[in-house]
Symmetry: C2
Subunit: 338 residues, 2 copies
């Protein structure tokens, strides 16, 4: 029975999340029951939605329980199996949480999925070919419903979701403009992700100024916006939306610490006949196979080369997560566990 | 050639609209050309959207031109015709504007429609069986897409749009709760329009207080909201929306004078996976026949008894319109011209 280091949620944040909200716990992995599988995690995924779950508030996901291992996506390898469909050595993606090992009931629907790393690296199943990629796909295909030649904007453009969105949007012939923080990310967005332009929001102290910069890169207005951040960026985009524009609301990371994040001019929803729609990709499992197929092909053919920020070791997870909330990561934030 | 009193837009409002923005003008009706029809207006419709057109701003409708007759819906009678399809005595609905007579090209698509007043009074074609009724129908049927047993809320519940919404929503088996200003309107909403409850927003000085009152009448949460006003009411409704709720954004009258009208918690769009969609009914002409058929039947069978506020004479139009913007009307605001 290997020793299993876990990171628990010890107490809930008041305002900004802190390292002291988390607790390092050493547990034993229990002996397997029939039908169970022991997975050794290679990578843990860190994602903005986890901040919402740290609050004890009505939201799309149940709050993370106190005194329990933080939830989260993982990829790893089966090291012991008492389930007929899983063999030692199988590579699997699941929701193993912030720990080194997990014991999974192989029959639980959606709990574990075998993956093929011939053309796609294992870690990509937590990013471009995983939940963040499908998130981008759903917002683009099901909410924005773009047509070739339209102009789309994505915030947090170099993140796991944003970079997948960029590849999917370009593949559909759309002019695609990103918003990101800092010159390095913006250069990467254009040179590596293939965005047509990327605006550094840190160069702008007001929504009006950011809006002016966006307008210069979107001379035909904006037909679709993929919202990852909220706040100033949303206020900057909204006045540039064309009639019948669509906004997929995927994240509002700017407000995750509880600060009020008002939308300045909601009347634009009416005057421009916009559709704003919030969504959670885990509620649309029916699209996953189609989306993963396209995303896998984009990665395998080199058309989606998503960057990763990799922290080392389970004890690095809290600091890496807090950095993610501040935009310090560059691309998909992972923790390498082996 | 009868003398034709017109109300022109003389200058644009700065902040609140004023009587001094309008000008009384006496014109002659020109002699008819071939294909034209002379209509004597019986009623002029006053609607909140007209306030938006008084501004010189990018919006869904072109701004109202200065020095021209204010646009607006009218019903009346053909008193002279040089068009084969219109005869003297025909009752017609059109966009005759704020004047006593209009000369209409009978061949212009959508310019004039003959109506039957056997079972539906002429003025209803400007309200329940006209643009406001179809507006309610579109928001309910095409955006909210209700299911029997769901809870819907409508603001400005006793207005032309709100009262049609109430009848259409109740006909679909929905619990329907209104928001209106003052005890008389709220009593009327329940006793005459058949709403299940109506909240008097004037009894509440904050969104939180209004939200609490709404919660008491919506014990199962809110599945659909028809937005006519914006501001505090929207902030009160948003936290009560159920997952996958739909908000049809039809009007934001609270902000029509240019005051900022921020939405306090847009993050709720994400956490509750809401859809907000703005629309303009004139862009969806394909639904009009279906909608008008249902609305006409509701009026003819007494299931939709919409109240009217009727001002007398064309020169009463400006004050009646300013009163409408302040919620002083009770039901559909009309001006009687004969």
């Amino acid at each position: 029975m290997p020793q299993n280091i876990q990171i628990h949620l010890d107490n809930r944040p008041v305002g900004e999340a802190q390292a002291s909200n988390f607790k390092h716990v050493v547990a034993e992995t229990p002996p397997l029951q029939d039908g169970q599988v022991l997975v050794r995690h290679h990578y843990l995924s860190l994602d903005p939605y986890m901040r919402g779950r740290m609050n004890d508030a009505k939201s799309y996901a149940a709050p993370q329980a106190l005194g329990q291992t933080m939830g989260g996506g993982t990829v790893g390898e089966v090291i012991e199996s008492r389930h007929a469909q899983y063999a030692v050595g199988d590579q699997v993606v699941g929701m193993g949480g912030w720990q080194q090992y997990s014991v999974v009931n192989g029959d639980q629907p959606g709990a574990l999925r075998k993956v093929d790393t011939t053309h796609v690296p294992l870690s990509a199943y937590l990013g471009a070919v995983g939940m963040p990629g499908v998130t981008a796909w759903y917002g683009l295909v099901k909410i924005i419903e773009p047509q070739a030649g339209q102009t789309l904007v994505v915030s947090a453009a170099t993140g796991a979701v944003g970079s997948a969105f960029a590849a999917l949007s370009k593949a559909r012939g759309c002019r695609t403009v990103g918003v990101a923080g800092g010159p390095d990310k913006c250069r990467y967005a254009v040179e590596e992700l293939g965005l047509d332009a990327c605006i550094d929001y840190k160069q702008h102290s007001s929504a009006a100024s950011l809006s002016k910069a966006l307008r210069a890169e979107c001379p035909n207005g904006i037909d679709g916006y993929f919202e990852n951040v909220g706040g100033m960026v949303l206020d900057a985009v909204l006045p540039l939306m064309n009639a019948f524009g669509r906004i997929a609301v995927c994240g509002m990371i700017a407000g995750y610490n509880g600060a009020p994040l008002p939308l300045a001019y909601p009347a634009l929803i009416l005057t421009n006949r916009l559709k704003l729609q919030g969504f959670i990709v885990s509620e649309h499992m029916d699209v996953w196979p189609t989306a993963l197929k396209e995303l896998g092909l984009l990665v395998a053919t080199g058309k989606l080369r998503a960057r990763e920020s990799v922290a080392q070791g389970i004890d690095a997870a809290p600091e890496a997560f807090l950095g993610l909330l501040k935009g310090r990561n560059f691309g998909k934030q992972l923790v390498k566990l082996v």
